[in-house]
Amino acid sequence: MKRRSIVALSLVVVLVAAVMAATSSGATQKATASSITVWLQVDAQSGWPDLVAAANKQFQSDHPGVTVNVQYQTWGTHLQKFDTTLAGGGGPDVIEMGNTEMTKYMAAGAFAALNKSSFDNSSNWLKGLAASGAFGGKTYGVPYYAGSRVVTYRSDLYKAAGIKKLPATTAEYAADAKKLLAKNPKKGFSPVYIAGTDWYVAMGFVFDYGGGIAQQISGKWKGLLNSPKSIAGLTAYKNFYLATSRASKTTDETHPNPYDVYAQGQAASIVGPSWFTCCVGKQYTASTAQFVMPGHVKGQAMPGFLGGSDLAVPITSPNQALASDWIKDFTSTSGEKGLQAKGNIPNATNLLGSSVNERAAARSWFVPTAKHWVDVENGNILRNMLAQILTGKLSIQQAATSAGDNIASVLNQS
């Protein structure tokens, strides 16, 4: 009797679980017209939650009865999650995408086409940002915000080294670095801390000399890294790096974070996003300032990588019109001004101010808008090239040629 009751008991447990499963309604219901789901990155949750709330309020007053469900995502997993919802449903109505992530998904038809003119300031959208949201003549992504690269520096160390004015060319910057090195002979001290494989900084040099990464000629991609101008840029980068940075030649710009090196007192200046000032350490906050990274020609800034995010509407959304309205409310002029106040670059030229970040954006570069560009980034092709160049494993010509060929073959995949 005992054994039978145990068998029966386990069967009952299983049956109950199955019934619960089948009837449970903790579901991802199809987003009905009573609510829309928005996926924003966690940067917004910690950086400007008030702007999100303002957009929700505006949206709800325009569409009474429709609630907004904002779900914050992390950069590491949001694409994987998005892929599963494309396959099985339950996805968002609005999604924030990094601007380098857009092209792959646009080419696959993941987004709904949007009406460009329905968004504020759309005729003045920053060129680099607008390009990332356009494909085949249609608009799929609305520029959300951007960030450029600036130099964050220790004004006290500069003063102590007798540097009277900020550099107007990279040559002057390198000369300043020599003075800083002389005054701060500590082991491992970098006058300009740049991580070896920080391709965002390195490619700035390439574009400064008129070179490029890749170019599409009648439908086929061709690598540009081994063109004479690009080689000049890479040579300039190598020389600048070896003279000014004691960072590891093979590591990237998050291992360690440049601002951590700065906070340890081991760097006089760092090149990166303008929000670096958040984390320079309590003891150095008062003596920290920023300037625009100079190019090799006087009066011209070094082109900075225009990183940023776009907002798009997945094709699987059942509420595309509502989604588009929400995006309009979030990227309205007042919304963008709010983002600007938090240190970001707003999405339109008529809104640009004169902060260091925005001045640096005057001259910017962006990655090739190709379906497979993400694969180039994930394959670390540019990083490996830089590591080979800096460690001297390969000559600049060799490394650039092989990287260029590699990039072309990846981009030309079907």
């Binding site: 386990s10 447990v13 789901t37 940067d43 910690s46 950069w75 999650k81 599963t84 958040c278």
Partner: protein, 281 residues
């Protein structure tokens, strides 16, 4: 004291020293995590490591707890993990008994199935699993996550419990059966108590694996109010901006607490507290 006893004492003292040294080395990373949770930010990034924070701060813990949804997500984790472990141990024990004590047609097939599932690379299963669960409305639901975890935990539990069962000599059961109990009665009255250590080790493993599981939790649970604590933890590292290391370490320390509590509750069964001599090796 006899010479032999003195020798034994000395030997044990020697082993104790080795044991202490190994404890220190093994636990160092955990110690580093906990001490960092109490360090003010300058000490965290400083070039010279600070071994023990002399001016500890509780700010990081406050920042961690204040991060949205902490208590909700802890509750979710506890629900999912306790349900998974409880049900899985029961079901796995039954299946392990079948494998270890019965011969039946299809036995080998079942064994192959159990092992085979553990060999599956989980990355490949994420999308189809999501599609299946979506069909039953089990995405964004704790029940869906629980069943998913059970699927991956069951094979391991069956396999391990079977091993422990095989280590128990049959004579004990046979003696009981001669005394008149039914076969399954024997299992309950005799095997279960002897399986104490095995059940505990297996359930601790199941607890820890499900407590720390991340990828299925993040893919299956969308609402932040439904997520588990490992997903909550990932938000510290997920921003493209500055990472608050102190808060992350404080948060990690907090998430480790339930695991340790669970272990302390069940560890007595593994006879760690017995004086040496009762266990021989």
């Amino acid at each position: 004291m006899s010479k032999r006893r003195r020798g034994r004492r000395a030997r044990q003292a020697g082993w104790n020293a080795v044991g202490l040294a190994i404890s220190v080395v093994m636990v160092f990373p955990v110690f580093w995590m906990i001490s960092t949770a109490f360090k003010p930010n300058e000490q965290i990034v400083s070039l010279n490591p600070t071994w023990l924070p002399l001016h500890p701060t509780l700010q990081h813990f406050r920042d961690a707890i204040d991060k949205p949804f902490f208590w909700t997500d802890v509750k979710n984790s506890l629900i999912v993990v306790c349900a998974t472990v409880a049900i899985s141990i029961v079901l796995a024990f039954l299946a392990a008994v079948a494998l270890a004590r019965y011969g039946f047609a299809g036995r080998k097939l079942f064994v192959v199935l159990v092992i085979g599932i553990q060999m599956l690379p989980q990355a490949g299963l994420i999308i189809p699993l999501y599609v299946v669960l979506a069909r039953y409305h089990q995405t964004n639901a704790l029940t869906g996550l629980t069943i998913t975890y059970m699927t991956f935990v069951l094979p391991f539990c069956v396999w391990t419990l079977r091993g422990f069962l095989l280590g128990i000599p049959k004579e004990l059961e046979e003696a009981a059966m001669v005394d008149g109990s039914t076969r399954l009665g024997v299992f309950i009255k005799i095997l279960l108590p002897l399986m104490g250590p095995g059940l505990v080790a297996t359930s601790v493993f199941a607890f820890i694996t499900t407590w720390n599981e991340y990828i299925f939790a993040v893919v299956l649970l969308h609402d932040q109010s439904k997520q588990t604590v490992t997903v909550w933890l990932s938000y510290f590292l997920g921003s493209s901006r500055h990472t608050d290391w102190g808060a992350l370490m404080a948060a990690s320390t907090l998430t480790a607490v339930p695991v340790i509590v669970f272990f302390l509750m069940v560890q007595r069964r593994i006879a760690f507290g017995l004086t040496s001599g009762a266990v021989r090796g």
